[in-house]
Amino acid sequence: MDLLQQLVNGLTLGSLYALIAVGYTVVYGIVQLINFAHGEVFMIGAFGGLTTYLALFQGTTAWWTLPIMLVGAVAASVLTAVVMERVAYRPLRSAPRLAPLITAIGISVFLQELVRLFYGKIPGLPDAKSRLPFPRIDGVTGPAFSIGGLDFQRPALFTMGSLAVCAAFLWWFINRTKQGRAMQAVSQDPDTARLMGIDVDRIIVTAFALGAALAAIAGVAQGLQNNNIDFRMGFMAGLKAFTAAVLGGIGNVAGAVVGGLTLGVVEALASQLGPTAWKDVWAFGLLILVLVFRPQGIMGARVVDRA
């Protein structure tokens, strides 16, 4: 029973990782860039959701605030990601691979400090130097559902539901829309794609925006789940999501989902079977094992090696 309960916890945690991991994988699949600032995009999504709530609905707990919070979260994250791409990554498109990687870490620190130092300076908003409580929303927070002795937390159901909807949407977008097919083309061969009339820059921006939107939803989901957010939340979450992306096969969207869920379950089971403190050791140990024995990840990377 305990094991099953931890499995539920693991899938919840894993859904969160998966939502963030998609952002790493989509961007990597297209520009071969590991966007380490993606964790911060996730954090800004959570703050975007909180800001929307504080600005418009402070005091209410009605369920209909949630969709509007999500819109605010997605807007904040997408804006951050698009500006980031335009200002920091696009000028480095033809630079050696290491340059954008280091830039990404710089942006990550920059965004964290930006929120830490300036969020509270905006009139009407609380100081973000320490943890901030996240709003409680009727329906998605509150006592857990108990089904057959297993507890299903409301925010956990929201997280898993979000992952299901987002994954379905992504599949449809990538395989069934013109934009999605263009994305696939760019990831296979950007030069040829450009010759075929695809606006490569626009596709890259789309990839960043797509990842950011999912990360924003994850940000709100984490806020609801943990009932607090802080400016550092993106660091560890980003790290775990990156691990999940590599685990599943970086560049492979289905892999990101599988990797995320795997990582979540491994962590949860590790904390049931051994000391809880060791769960990160198991998570990163798994990453090392996968890198040694199956560097292309569980699902295999779909990226074509370019000459």
């Binding site: 931890q6 320490s130 409580p133 790290l239 949860a268 904390s271």
Partner: protein, 415 residues
């Protein structure tokens, strides 16, 4: 560059950034807090009282309270001309609740010839690094909040207590009293099955160890002993494990930024038992983070409620009147007493001194002998530098506020 090597680079960058984040320091945006330089009766020679506390980050609420309370004490001393010929100043340094940063702050203060005493730190783990630096420089240190017993009485504080640093004093009670006090309270309430959780920091572990020893010795059972990672904010794994063991209460060793969400998440998961912590959770922010379900949660804190004592009320009124941006928080009164212990000592040591640095040793000796009525009770130190006062209070969350539930003198209860 092939894909594989890029990932390898990525992973090593991750490892490097993990390592960096562990020891990296954030800029103290607060810098030095303005002391009370109004000195009307005060003279031309300057002596500085340093403050080392977390002025940014999760624990900044408590750190700021400490800083302002010291500023208040110094301002009052200057205004009344407590030390003829001298003006006191406050130099507050941010330790970010990190041992390394705390050490740097201590080193900076030790290098300032005007510094004659330091109030701090908040965290026991930071104090471990600050103590030796200040001891070498012969600067007296009075902590308002370190509750780990080994800081004053050494590693074997139970069997063979030994004074560690002659420069170290504290105005608060230690964990070896706080833990048993909490255990006694729970047992008195008829709660005999308890789960413990701590955050693996010196403070949290110390509390839980002391709690467990007393609780087991007096007929209680610890049904689960777990730990959390202070950097995490989702504790579902631990909660599921604890819930399986069906405790009647959960004792947590750590601070409010973790225990708030922990209590909230546990109650949402159906673990509807009271959560109890030490003085590190006795803060209004705990209730904010733990939400509406925090009602019934408990915390022990040292001393009697500040507003239950006549002098304590005076302090709170003066603090209010001074108009600081942040409330005095859990340790404000202790920091005020700590600063006054140093000032009391300085009255003797600075009398004939020509410069601040020369009076450092004399200050240490004088502080060891102080005995006055502070705002938290009598302020006097025993041979280890610990406060002689052993009064503790249990607080309970009721109606969104901490309400005192029981005050007891453990020195008389004979633990």
């Amino acid at each position: 560059m092939s894909q594989r090597s890029l990932i390898t680079v990525g992973v090593s960058v991750v490892a490097a950034s993990l390592a960096l984040s562990a020891c990296g320091s954030r800029d103290a945006d607060t810098g030095t807090g303005g002391g009370g330089g109004t000195g009307s009766a005060a003279g031309n020679k300057t002596a500085t009282i340093g403050v080392i506390a977390p002025l940014s980050g999760d624990l900044s609420a408590m750190g700021k309270g400490i800083q302002h309370s010291v500023e208040l004490a110094v301002k009052q001393a200057n205004d009344s001309g407590a030390i003829p010929g001298w003006t006191l100043k406050v130099d507050a340094k941010d330790d970010e609740a990190k041992p390394e940063t705390g050490k740097n702050a201590a080193t900076a203060l030790a290098g300032d010839n005007n510094v004659v005493g330091v109030v701090g730190t908040l965290n026991s783990s930071v104090a471990q690094n600050v103590q030796p630096v200040l001891a070498t420089a012969k600067i007296v240190q009075v902590s308002p909040a370190n509750t780990n017993p080994s800081l004053s009485r050494g590693k074997d504080y139970l069997t063979a207590p030994k004074r560690t640093y002659p420069t170290y004093f504290r105005t608060c009670t230690t964990d070896d009293v706080q833990g048993p006090f909490a255990a006694k309270y729970l047992l008195d309430q008829g709660i005999k099955q308890v789960a413990t959780i701590h955050d693996k920091k010196t403070y949290g572990q110390g509390l839980v160890d002391a709690f467990t020893t007393y609780f087991k010795a007096h007929g209680g059972t610890v049904v689960a002993a777990e730990t959390i990672n202070p950097d995490d904010s989702n504790y579902q794994n631990v909660i599921s494990k604890v819930k399986g063991s069906a405790p009647k209460a959960v004792y947590y060793g750590g601070e409010y930024p973790q225990m708030g969400p922990l209590s909230q998440q546990a109650k949402a998961a159906g673990l509807n038992v009271p959560f109890m912590g030490g003085d590190g959770v006795y803060d209004p922010k705990y209730i904010q983070l733990a939400g509406a379900t925090a009602t019934g949660d408990l915390a022990t804190s040292v001393g009697a409620p500040t507003d239950s004592l006549e002098k304590g009320k005076e302090f709170l009124a003066a603090y209010e009147k001074a108009g600081y941006a942040e409330p005095s928080s859990a340790y404000g009164a202790y920091a005020y007493d700590a600063a006054n212990a140093i000032i009391e000592g300085l009255k003797t040591s600075l009398k004939g001194a020509s410069d601040a640095q020369g009076a450092r040793q004399a200050t240490i000796d004088a502080v060891g002998k102080v005995n006055f009525q502070g705002v938290t009770g009598d302020v006097a130190f025993d041979q280890y530098g610990d406060s002689k006062t052993r009064v503790l209070t249990v607080y309970k969350v009721e109606g969104g506020k901490w309400v005192p539930a029981k005050t007891e003198d453990m020195a008389k209860a004979g633990s």
